[in-house]
Symmetry: C2
Subunit: 564 residues, 2 copies
């Protein structure tokens, strides 16, 4: 008998499965805040305020104290405290909850996941404020990417998982001869307990695919948020627990692990033998540590890299500049998909209006950046605020490096947010380097920092972009070229390196805004990520088909072995 929650949402799941196989534009959850009510964002602000200066309620086991010291990049102390639970208690509770969840079957688990998504969707406005005041995203960007688009990614992972789980029948009669007749039963079985290590800049967008892929395939999930961005994932965990409870399941299938400020909890937990799946999106140092140390678990790690841009020639120079400025400014470069190195050759950029010399291109890009940020009220809606003081320090260090050994095309400058005077807002830093200054551009400087790299030829640009992306990793490669041979070579580079390739982006289609159900956000083929997102492997690595077989009848078929 189908589970009622599955019945309730099965049409949406069907549409989602059609969408992953079609890859046209599809937004399962409304992306306009007004679709959630005329006053949705204001109501969300009130809901967010209610969390502040209070204890966040979670009835989890093994509470050892309370923790949480979030402070908004917009200048607001959150003062929310969360229960700090013993990791072993959470793991024990997760394991205890697992078998009934597994035995409940695919439809029950999928139905519960779909209901969690529906509740998260209803709370999108509240989540937007929680995200804004932890990640520094602008409210609009937080709503869009951390609300409906993050939910969409969760649904996408669920749709893949459902597809991969349902190919195999629940049982089969296997007969080779009259003496070899077996009844086989198959069940989707989880790897074990899943750990999600939350991102500081896109907590929900990064966590939801992992959460729903793991949960749907039977794995209990422990969510360990980044210490600076606990609230969004605490809200999501609370929603998941509520739905699980209502559906008659053990709420400890999804728990929140808040770190001990005195100890590196994430590192300890990541090495526990019972943790069999780990999802992490964030800085490469921790990602590399996971790859070295957490050998008992399957890893789904995204650490970004140096996304490259090649500017060879264009049909529309101004549109190119505008699009690039927007990509560089979006969320102050605090997206792993933001362009970092922009290659242009001394042969210049061919445009319908003539050749633009390489240095001129750099100045034009700096000028366009300046024009964009000269209206703060408009600019902050795209830039948001700087999530971490470490990013501010990174901007300063890159400025000094640029001044000392390269050239600064445009310095990063503070911008006063019209509404949040304490907000950490900075305009992007744009450097100019030569092809041999690899220490300048062959490193991901997370934040609003990009480098224009002057090469001898577009062929050298391609070669350097390939080396950079192969060694440092990359999620995408943006190429502006009107020349078929350059485009062909760029395709070869993309195939060899394993990056998504975009040609000639102009207008509002940004290279760092991957679209759910259409785009693959990572390939797993270069150091930027250990897996593709979202594809079959992303979900299929989280479960196996458990098999139980039983012989039909006591046969006398092998009396030839020996007559006892």
């Amino acid at each position: 008998m189908p589970h009622p929650l599955f019945e309730k949402h099965r049409a949406l799941l069907g549409e989602a499965q059609a969408a992953i196989a079609r890859r046209t534009h599809w937004s399962p959850y409304a992306e306009n805040p007004r679709a959630y009510g005329e006053t949705a964002l204001d109501d969300g602000a009130m809901a967010f305020e209610a969390y502040r200066d209070a204890q966040f309620y979670l009835d989890q086991p093994g509470v050892q104290g309370r923790g949480g010291e979030e402070f908004s990049p917009y200048g607001l102390p959150l003062n929310v405290s969360y229960p700090r639970c013993s990791p072993d208690a959470l793991i024990g509770a997760a394991r205890a909850a697992m078998l009934p969840w597994v035995r409940a079957g695919i439809e029950a688990r999928s139905g519960v996941c779909l209901e969690i998504l529906a509740r998260l969707n209803a709370g999108s406005a509240e989540m937007a404020h929680a995200l804004m005041h932890t990640t520094g995203q602008s409210l609009g960007f937080a709503f869009l990417t951390g609300g409906p688009q993050a939910q969409s990614r969760g649904l996408e992972a669920l749709a893949w998982a459902h597809r991969e789980m349902t190919l195999i029948p629940e049982q089969a009669e296997w007969q080779r001869s009259e003496h070899q007749r077996l009844e086989k039963r198959f069940m989707v079985a989880p790897l074990g307990v899943a750990l999600i290590i939350g991102s500081a800049t896109q907590p929900t967008w990064n966590a939801y695919p992992a959460l729903f892929a793991s949960l749907a395939t039977g794995n209990p999930v422990i969510v360990k948020p980044h210490p600076t961005a606990i609230l969004p994932l605490a809200i999501a965990v609370a929603v998941a627990r509520q739905v699980l409870k209502e559906a008659g399941f053990d709420a400890n299938l999804v728990t929140l692990l808040v770190g001990d400020p005195d100890g590196p909890v994430a590192r300890d937990v990541a090495l526990k033998p019972d943790i069999r799946l780990i999802d992490y999106a964030g800085a490469p140092d921790f990602g590399n540590w996971l790859r070295d140390a957490a050998r008992q678990a399957r890893l789904f790690v995204e650490t970004g890299g140096v996304n490259c841009v090649l500017v060879d020639s264009t049909y529309d120079y101004k549109a190119l500049l505008k699009n690039l400025v927007l990509s560089l400014c979006l969320d102050s470069g605090q997206l792993r998909a933001t362009p970092r190195a922009i290659f242009v050759s001394r042969e210049g950029v061919q445009t319908p209006d003539g050749l633009i010399e390489a240095g001129q291109f750099g100045r034009d890009l700096a000028f366009a950046l300046g024009k964009f940020v000269e209206e703060p009220a408009r600019a902050v809606e795209v830039l948001g605020a700087i999530q971490s003081p470490a990013t501010l320090a990174r901007i300063d260090a890159a400025s000094e490096l640029g001044e000392a050994s390269a050239e600064v095309l445009r310095f990063s400058m503070p911008l006063v947010h019209p509404k949040w005077p304490e907000a950490r807002v900075r305009t992007p830093l744009l450097l100019l380097a030569s092809a041999d200054q690899r220490d300048i551009y062959m490193e991901e400087r997370f934040g609003p920092i990009a480098t224009v790299v002057i090469t001898a030829t577009s062929a050298e640009s391609l070669a350097l972009a390939e080396t950079t992306m192969r060694e440092k990793g990359a999620l995408n490669f943006l190429v502006h070229s009107t020349h078929p041979h350059v485009r062909q070579l760029a395709e070869d580079v993309a195939l060899r390196v394993g990056v998504a390739l975009s040609f000639d982006l102009t207008g509002a289609a940004l290279v760092n805004q991957p679209s759910g159900f259409a785009d693959f956000h990572a390939s797993g083929a270069n150091p930027a990520a250990s897996c593709g997102m979202i594809d079959a492997a992303f979900v299929a690595n989280r479960f196996y088909f458990s098999q139980i077989q039983q012989h039909y009848l006591p046969p006398s078929s092998i009396d030839w072995v020996v007559d006892l």
Copy 2:
């Protein structure tokens, strides 16, 4: 336009895809040698003889000399020499061959793979002799498992790969608004160069799934056979290269890497940065080394473990003994799926004829083993020969250990092969240990060695089996019980540990003969293997969807950014 080889074989591929989703018995390739001609096995013997005392022809690049010193476990020097090629030359050639193979598309690659399988199938009898005289398998077992059943596994992997590759369309038009309109193209792209490290005991059965999964998804494959079992994989590589050439592709998409006797070639090659996939089936020490050292590659490692048997109660005691004897004797325990530890409690085995005391069960099993091997002509067809002198040493060491600290229920004894007097044939060694003698039974002793473990209760048997399989790994768990509660607890154990569970096997259905298109041979959830075999993850981890997108028109949609 469909590729002619795809057209030729597409019906078979369709049947295979239906079979993986149905999981009833299906043998795509005839399992009776006579189906290949009345004199097929004799013809195969002649073909095998033609390889002996000769140079094996392979037109590969980077030849540095010749190597190969295979010696049949049946007492025959093979004296075949193979070209020894520089690993870097093979990797370079593989990378050079890759892009045209990728661009050829899914149907061309699948068609070529299907044709290779058809040619391998036609050569099954020749392969049987090559396998017999390298692995020690009996001719009948070599033909069945190394011929049609190995090919069947290759086809199964190909069917999964084809399913996973074809969900995504080749192109899609994506439109979010009139200003965001993109044409997206998708292509299956490989991770890189794949390395298969061949098994000494089941080279084709273990290699074919990897070979066809990797090749079909676009990865060039380097096959590094075990030094004692080169010929079977050399034949397979030669067949693959011939088909590739005939179809107009670069033969270096599949190459043979024969080790330098003076150096550990496998270890060197496994660490090359361009090797992105490694398949290995064999001993745990090398498998564990791979997991520690080969961090640049995705690993598909099967190392076996301690498969457990629980004997609690039965409807047919003699049938139980016969089935178990056959499983223990099959290929002299040189299968990773062979039962190793047989738990029986001091409460005895309940049978329709009364209670069998635990010690009596041990003696009955030893007696049944003795009865089976007392007719050598019959026994050698099941036992085959011992592949490696190391296994003989392992039998002797286990005998000594048993005599010193436990009890030997039946010693291993040489058996004279009626046709091959020099063959290394040994009867199985059966030990008896108590529950606390973990050093006796909690270790995989690869070869014809098994231990009956006496416990206090079936509950203790279940607990010890769970600990053993969780810590040491296991591919399967065989339970004889007429009690519903024991069966339920066994199912819980199987789910927690991740092993295939079989109840009450009697007759010719052996726990160590997994059936293609029906059984999952490994789960990836315990130390016996790092992946499930064969499932979606096994193939989906070998490729990603490469994406190329292009903007439609130069839009003026973001003039709000800045009017340049």
